[in-house]
Point group: C2
Chain length 413, copies 2
Amino acid sequence: MLGNAIIGQSGGPTAVINQSLVGVIEALTHAQKQNKIGKILGAKHGVRGIIHSDFLTLDNLSADLLERVAQTPSSALGSTRDKPDEAYCHQIFESFKKHNVQYFFYLGGNDSADTARITAEMAKANGVNLNVYHVPKTIDNDLRTTDHCPGYGSAGRFVALAHMGDDADNRSLKGIKINCVMGRDAGWLTAASALARFDENDGPHLIYVPEADFNEDKFIGDVDRIFTKLGRCVIAVSEGIRYKANDKKSLLAEKIMQGGEVDAHGNRQLSGSGALADYLTNLIKDKLGNLMATRGGGTVKLRVRGDTFGYLQRSFPTIVSETDAPEARECGRLAVQYALTAPNGLSSGSVAMKRVSESPYKIAFFPTPLDTVARLTKPLPAEWIKDGNDMTAAYMSYAKPLIGPLPRPGKLF
Amino acid sequence: MLGNAIIGQSGGPTAVINQSLVGVIEALTHAQKQNKIGKILGAKHGVRGIIHSDFLTLDNLSADLLERVAQTPSSALGSTRDKPDEAYCHQIFESFKKHNVQYFFYLGGNDSADTARITAEMAKANGVNLNVYHVPKTIDNDLRTTDHCPGYGSAGRFVALAHMGDDADNRSLKGIKINCVMGRDAGWLTAASALARFDENDGPHLIYVPEADFNEDKFIGDVDRIFTKLGRCVIAVSEGIRYKANDKKSLLAEKIMQGGEVDAHGNRQLSGSGALADYLTNLIKDKLGNLMATRGGGTVKLRVRGDTFGYLQRSFPTIVSETDAPEARECGRLAVQYALTAPNGLSSGSVAMKRVSESPYKIAFFPTPLDTVARLTKPLPAEWIKDGNDMTAAYMSYAKPLIGPLPRPGKLF
């Protein structure tokens, strides 16, 4: 009896995780026709669907439906925030035995890679035949080993486009504008705002990421300098910026929320709240207003606004990166090929990308052991952060091909 | 000596106000070649540029630059928040005399139409030859006389696409999600979220606009009903929702901010702050959490998030409506034609649109007197609002052709 294959999606959705899903389904359908696998099952809401045997049958789906699913953002199988421990993984493993699952494809970030790793090791220890492949996805771009992560290019494109539009807006009606971007632990997504710039004096003029310590006095000094020069300032800030006190790094957003200054409930979720942007907006009004008053300007009324991009960044339809979508699809297809052929003896693993050429941009795919992707994450390299408030040219060369070409704005002055 | 023409842009930018600008420039360039007008001047930052003689010369711009400008969101000439009174209009009038301006094209909303009206009347009273045409633009869609306003279709498209993505996101990771949409006085833009729905149970499940009184108890009851049915709920809320107390309507956002519960500075700007979304998020956590606990569930942890779309709505590049862009361009071109030919004796006026056919969608343009557009605005018709929390099919038929076709999402369950 042929072993069945199961697919699950996990964690925060992206605009192209369904491309990977469809890539897996397409390759499995091909394998099914060649009598290499049994049924193709979809687990609803990731590992949660697996332990509750809550499955969809993904056999014989029409090419038209699959193409529409591929182009739809977010996780078509449903996602989960569950992070399985050993006991949970044991339930997954038991469900696989019960449903004769021999191939498991898990689409997600580093936590999902760890779930895949534990499950694969459990199977091996019990002498059960189970090939597990992790398919990378995350807008955070923080997985190790791979050059970049499917999902990052499209979310980065959103962030760059949003800053292009917002900079044009700010040029037209001058003032100080703060944009809070997702990324609790890594600044990759916020960094993509740098790609919005075409000409000198284009915004964002300042970029703050979690990898560089955030200092409020330096921040106000930075804003003052730009505002004095240009009469305006556009600022990209990661929701995960950290300040340093007593040699300990702490999230600024948590400090604000814990202090009860904004959120009466002490909620600490960073996304889905405008608290950090509102805090920084008021900080600028206060400190920069006072600073300008001391220079003899009297009371100064500054036009300061803060936007928090929120969930739009990861699920906005129709602006997917033309690099990101096919790469995500290919990662899905290759996960199946690797699971069936076990290249270099890797019957379980993750699909990774290597940049073989910078110009023209070219990627090679390869299988990598699960423990090279699981758990630990990859921050922005320190050498790609400039003066604690900008990105270097090296980052720009790295990221440009990932988000795809942007339309050059037309300016009259 | 031929009279010169001057163009200005005013108020909040849109994604297509530069289409109108380029339409005006193209038509004026044509008239210039026919020796009908003198120089083509652009006023930097609207009326402010006019009274300070801060002009750009817009003669002989390349077609390539003009096309790029047309496709760039926001106001390429710069915008202003100045709302001229009689004395200010007198300065405008004096500047026109000084610079031999015979044609004035002002791109903006109802305030700009009023500036145009006062200036035109002043010229007439002084026996000065001045033709003034207002070119409509506003994402708020609240101008009288015209069927709809250039700028609305593209901003509405952003709001609909954002809700399509966000609904897919919410389906994948269930919870309650609030999206705050721009529109201080009218709910047109928030209403466009209704177009995100393709199938039953698609979100947004609830839509609140300023034209319907907002009641917190009814709101919580609405959310409870949807959440109990679907296990999730996506809500579109206008930043301008009003509650009624002592027969007086007041902005909820102002109440929140005045109360100092969120913004320590008592700032009352509605856009550029996450205060309303955060307030409603906490309200749901509190009240619905308690409500569910009284039903015997013990302490209930609800996943509630709030996003505020902010300035992205009006300036996001690359997702312009395919109806909106050419209409905005045509309004600009026709403003010049009307100013030069004075149809029906209207040497000054505004360009308006009439819907001559619903299916297929077809528009006719016509000139209308400035006082039919200036000052007063047009709210959503009461009969297009359903149960105080949704839009009717009639609204959907009206708005669908304006935002252009949306990709049908692919779903697996």
